[in-house]
C-alpha cells in the first residue's frame, strides 16, 4: 500500500525537490544569522561608546567585502548544485503528456506494446527512480503545474509546449496543484502523482491499456445503458463503449482513480452519483451540466457502473 503524503515543499520525495529544499533552508538560515547579527550591531550602536567607531571599516568591511564574499560563495555553491538538477529534456526520459483544461488535467501515456495513446485524467503515474519528462500544454488559459514534493513549477501556456522533468525517489502519492490563477475553480484544480515501483508501474500501464471493464451484473449493465441514454458520450470517452468525444475526462478507468473532479471528491458510488446529479453544487462553474430527468435508480446504476470501471 503506497502512502498518501502532504503537499509540502518541506517533505521532498524527488531529486529536484530535495535540492530546492536545500536551497531554501540555506538561504533561510543564512538570512536569519545575518539578520540577527545586524540587529545586534544596531542595538550596540545605541550604547555610548568610549572610543569612536571607525565608519570606513564598517562600510568597506560590512557593506562591501562581506556581501561580496557571501554572495560569491552562494553563487558558486548554487551554480554547482543547480547543475545537479535533473536535465529538462525528453531525451532518455519516459514521456507523458499533460494538458491543462478548465479545471482538470488530461494525462496521456504511450502504450509500449501497441504504441497507442492511453488517456487518463487528474493522476500522473510515474515509475520511481526514473526521469519522466512531462510535456505540458494548455487547452484554454495559462495554468501551471506544481508538485511541491517532486519538482519546481512550470507554466502551461496555450499554443506552446513546455515540459518538466520529474524524478520520484520513493513510492508514494504526491499532491499537485495548479499554480497559476486560471479562473473560478483554480483552487480546486488539483492532481495526484502516483509514484510506483517500476514493475508496478508496468502492470498499472498494462491495465490502463485495456478497454473498459464489461458489466458483470444487470445493475452495471443498466448503468452502461444509462451512460449512453443520457448522452454522456457527447463529452466523455469510455474506450470500448463510446470513443468519439474528448471534451471531458476519459472515463475508461475512472473507478481506478482516487479522486474525481480534479481532487474535489474521493471516488466511490456516492460521490459519483452526487457529482453526476449536480457538479455545479460541488464545483460551481465547471463545464459539466447537472443531470436532468434521470431517475434515482438509474443514477445509482450509472454511479455503480462508473465505480466499476477500474
Amino acid at each position: 500500500m503506497i502512502e498518501d503524503t502532504l503537499q509540502s515543499v518541506l517533505h521532498p520525495a524527488g531529486w529536484d525537490a530535495a535540492i530546492i529544499r536545500q536551497f531554501a533552508w540555506v538561504m533561510f538560515a543564512g538570512a536569519a544569522v545575518i539578520f540577527v547579527a545586524v540587529m545586534a550591531l544596531l542595538a550596540l550602536s545605541l550604547r555610548r561608546h568610549e572610543r569612536p567607531v571607525r565608519p570606513m571599516l564598517w562600510i568597506a568591511g560590512g557593506g562591501i567585502a562581506f556581501p561580496l564574499v557571501v554572495l560569491s560563495a552562494l553563487l558558486v555553491w548554487s551554480t554547482w548544485r543547480s547543475a545537479q538538477l535533473v536535465p529538462q529534456s525528453s531525451n532518455g526520459a519516459l514521456a507523458i503528456s499533460v494538458t491543462a483544461k478548465l479545471w482538470w488535467w488530461d494525462v496521456r501515456y504511450r502504450d509500449p506494446e501497441s504504441g497507442r495513446e492511453i488517456v487518463a485524467a487528474n493522476e500522473i503515474h510515474v515509475p520511481v527512480g526514473q526521469a519522466v519528462y512531462v510535456g505540458l500544454n494548455s487547452a484554454d488559459v495559462i495554468h501551471s503545474l506544481w508538485i511541491p514534493a517532486l519538482a519546481g513549477k512550470r507554466d502551461m501556456i496555450p499554443g506552446r509546449v513546455t515540459g518538466l522533468t520529474l524524478r520520484a525517489e520513493k513510492p508514494g502519492i504526491y499532491r499537485g496543484q495548479c499554480a497559476e490563477y486560471c479562473g473560478a475553480q483554480h483552487a480546486r484544480m488539483a492532481l495526484q502523482v502516483v509514484a510506483l515501483a517500476p514493475a508496478d508501474y508496468k502492470a498499472w500501464l498494462a491495465r490502463q491499456a485495456l478497454p473498459a471493464a464489461s458489466p458483470t451484473s444487470p445493475q452495471l449493465e443498466r448503468g452502461r445503458a444509462v451512460f449512453l441514454e443520457q448522452r454522456c458520450q457527447s463529452c466523455h470517452t469510455i474506450r470500448g463503449v463510446a470513443e468519439t468525444a474528448q471534451l471531458g475526462p476519459d472515463l475508461t478507468h475512472v473507478g481506478s482513480r482516487k479522486e474525481i473532479g480534479a481532487g474535489v471528491l474521493r471516488t466511490h458510488e456516492g460521490t459519483l452519483a452526487g457529482w453526476v446529479a449536480d457538479p455545479q453544487a460541488v464545483k460551481p462553474g465547471v463545464f459539466m451540466p447537472a443531470a436532468s430527468g434521470i431517475d434515482g435508480a438509474s443514477l445509482r446504476a450509472l454511479a455503480a457502473y462508473l465505480a466499476h470501471l477500474k
Partner: protein, 134 residues
C-alpha cells in the same frame, strides 16, 4: 401498494399504534429532555462526524459543520436529527436510520442514494452524528 415495500410501511391502525409505541420508546429512551439528541446504541458522535466527512456525504447533502458539504442532489441535513420521517416516509428511528444508511434502496426503492458498503458500526456512528443535527 407495491409488493416490494415491506409490510410495515402499509398503514393499518394496528401498525400505526405499534409504530407510535416504537417511536415513543425509541425517542423516550434517548431523549430525556427537550432538545437533546437521540442516542444511537454503539454510536459515537465524533467518529460519526469523521466518517461523514471522509465519505464526503457533502457531495449530495448540505451539512452544517462539515467543510465543503454543499451538495444539492439530496436533501440538506441541517435538521435531520429532529425530522419525523427520513427519505420521505421512513420513521426517523435509530434502527431505521442505520439500516437506511447501510442500504438506502432496500428501504426506499427508487432512491438516488446508493449503498456505500458501510459497516453496521460505521452506520451507527454516522447516525449518532446525524441525530445531533437539529
Amino acid at each position: 401498494m407495491n409488493s416490494t415495500v415491506p409490510d410495515i410501511f402499509r398503514p393499518s391502525p394496528s401498525h400505526l399504534r405499534l409504530l407510535s409505541v416504537a417511536a415513543f420508546l425509541a425517542f423516550g429512551a434517548g431523549c430525556t429532555e427537550r432538545g437533546q439528541a437521540v442516542r444511537v446504541e454503539g454510536g459515537n458522535v465524533d467518529a460519526g462526524k469523521k466518517l461523514v466527512t471522509q465519505y464526503q456525504c457533502g457531495a449530495c447533502h448540505a451539512i452544517p459543520g462539515i467543510p465543503a458539504a454543499t451538495g444539492d442532489a439530496g436533501p440538506p441535513l441541517d435538521a435531520v436529527g429532529r425530522m419525523n420521517y427520513i427519505a420521505g416516509g421512513i420513521p426517523n428511528q435509530p434502527a431505521r436510520l442505520v439500516a437506511f444508511l447501510r442500504d438506502p434502496p432496500a428501504l426506499k426503492p427508487g432512491t438516488s442514494m446508493p449503498a456505500l458498503g458501510l459497516t453496521e458500526q460505521e452506520a451507527r456512528h454516522m447516525a449518532a452524528y446525524l441525530y445531533t443535527l437539529r
